[in-house]
Symmetry: C2
Subunit: 318 residues, 2 copies
């Protein structure tokens, strides 16, 4: 099939002229792989993503190697990205769980870090072995020290729309933790629908509640998972509301797309297809991005769950 | 994972209170299967869909068996659905390509038929071996005769947003064919994005152009394919515009979801998840629907491409 001239570009009202894509594939996507991906492959993946026009690529996480063996190569990987200069507008944020992780990242010259909190007590306990309050206490010196050193700080917030133990999560509860993360000094918040259950009305409600609490769209990013197929519709809703930063994962990497608890991230390619059709600038070269995700799928030995990658990939039909 | 209370119901402004789902799985979904599905399986599939609360289920197509061997059992299948009474609100539309097909359908008591036109010359030639004008001439006596006999007539229009040979399809061209189908006597039009390339702005533009040409939302249905992952976002856009009838396929049946030219329909389950979250009534019992699609996937020997089915299916994780 020819896709010349497709998608047809027809702008819609009420959308931003440009969207910043926060690419999470190398970190969020690969950290759940069962077999360890070689550091050379990760480095090439990140380089290719930047060459495809993604200017914000989350590179790795400085957690203790015992926690996530996939990330034991954080120093080596990050050190191999020194040729991707911040001066050219490339941003390579890294996750840090605590002060020790922060020092490791800063020592390598990281200019952008992220901490990861939870909107629910159940997930804070499961993921961080802490209460929500204790997690925020842990982040306080991390955010302060990062800010002092001039690094930009993103705060991830998990389970903003639903929780596997607690069910629905009230917007007010999310707003409260968001406010506290901003008060600590976070520059940006990423609202995560970690189990992919949100629908459009809930997205609109939370964003409106955040605005009412003095949190403007400019400091917000949305992070949707496609577990129930809702990620792109929810993203469009957030863009109509005024959000201009969207998290996505090249090829839809993340979780196992063929298992019951599929937790794949929104695929960057599906997002770029939509934004290209809407005339919203992203700076991304879709063909190069698809080629990159196809290459990565070959490395992982399974097809990409991204529908756009499957439609445009040059591999043979099955 | 528990999904008790999920998705959380939060209505959004500007949406209808109820959506009619036009279920196309048994016809549009199964007609592309390589191996013929036994007529008993098709009949059970349709019965299960009705029991799950879908009141409009497109049952089969009265095309010549030489064209589509999968549909050679149309008479036998339709005859086996006589226990699903129109008096209970069940609608079982069937496709008819010409007067001969219409007579076969009417002889079996069909009260709702559909003709299938094309917005582009290339697809009219490929699918019907006719020009757009010739196809409309062929439909004229079919629609007239169906209307005379009291049957409701749906007009399908393919390639409303893009065409594999012609690229982008201008809205004005689609509006023209829509007007002519309505002038023939069609009661409803289904706007098909046959190759799944549409994005939200284009959807909004076409619907607005149709309204301006005197075609109200009430006679329109939208029929999106998920080739580029856009189906649900486009559907939400159409609902916000005012459309209240949506075509979808149980389990996302249709085309081969794992091949390059994946042409899967919007999965009914993903649509129902969204509408449940938005508080929009559909009458569908999602658990029963997922059970039905899981059962059908077992019959076909491959997993459903619907993300919601994969998330909620009771089958073991891989």
């Amino acid at each position: 099939m020819s896709t010349a001239g497709l998608p047809m570009t027809v702008p819609a009202e009420g959308l931003p002229s440009r969207v910043r894509i926060h690419e999470v594939g190398p970190r969020d996507g690969l950290q759940n792989e069962k077999s360890v991906v070689p550091v050379e492959v990760k480095a090439e993946f990140i380089h290719r993503l930047v060459e495809a026009g993604l200017d914000t690529v989350e590179a790795t996480s400085f957690v203790h190697p015992k926690w996530v063996p996939q990330l034991a190569d954080a120093e080596e990987l990050y050190g191999g990205l020194a040729d991707l200069p911040a001066s050219a507008g490339v941003r390579l944020p890294v996750l840090v769980p605590n002060e020790r992780g922060l020092e490791r990242a800063l020592a390598l010259g990281a200019r952008e870090i992220a901490v990861f909190g939870s909107a629910t007590e159940s997930f804070a306990r499961a993921n961080l072995n802490r209460t929500v309050d204790e997690a925020l206490e842990m982040f306080a010196p991390v955010v302060a020290r990062a800010s002092e050193s001039g690094a930009r700080v993103r705060g991830y917030l998990s389970m903003c729309f639903g929780d596997p133990w607690e069910g629905p999560v009230p917007a007010g509860q999310v707003v409260d933790v968001c406010r506290r993360l901003l008060d600590l000094g976070c520059d940006e918040l990423s609202l995560g629908d970690t189990i992919g259950v949100a629908t459009a009305g809930q997205v609109e409600e939370l964003l409106t509640a955040l605005n009412a609490a003095g949190v403007p769209d400019e400091v917000l990013a949305v992070h949707f998972h496609d577990t129930y197929g809702q990620a792109l519709a929810n993203t469009l809703t957030a863009l109509r509301h005024g959000v201009t930063t969207v998290d996505a994962s090249a090829g839809g990497l993340g979780g196992c797309p063929y298992a019951r608890s599929a937790t794949g991230n929104l695929a960057t390619e599906d997002l770029v297809w939509m934004l290209r059709g809407l005339g919203v600038e992203t700076g991304v070269d879709l063909d190069r991005l698809v080629a990159t995700s196809t290459w990565m799928a070959d490395r992982l030995g399974r097809p990409s769950p991204s529908r756009t990658v499957r439609a445009l990939s040059p591999t043979k039909e099955q």
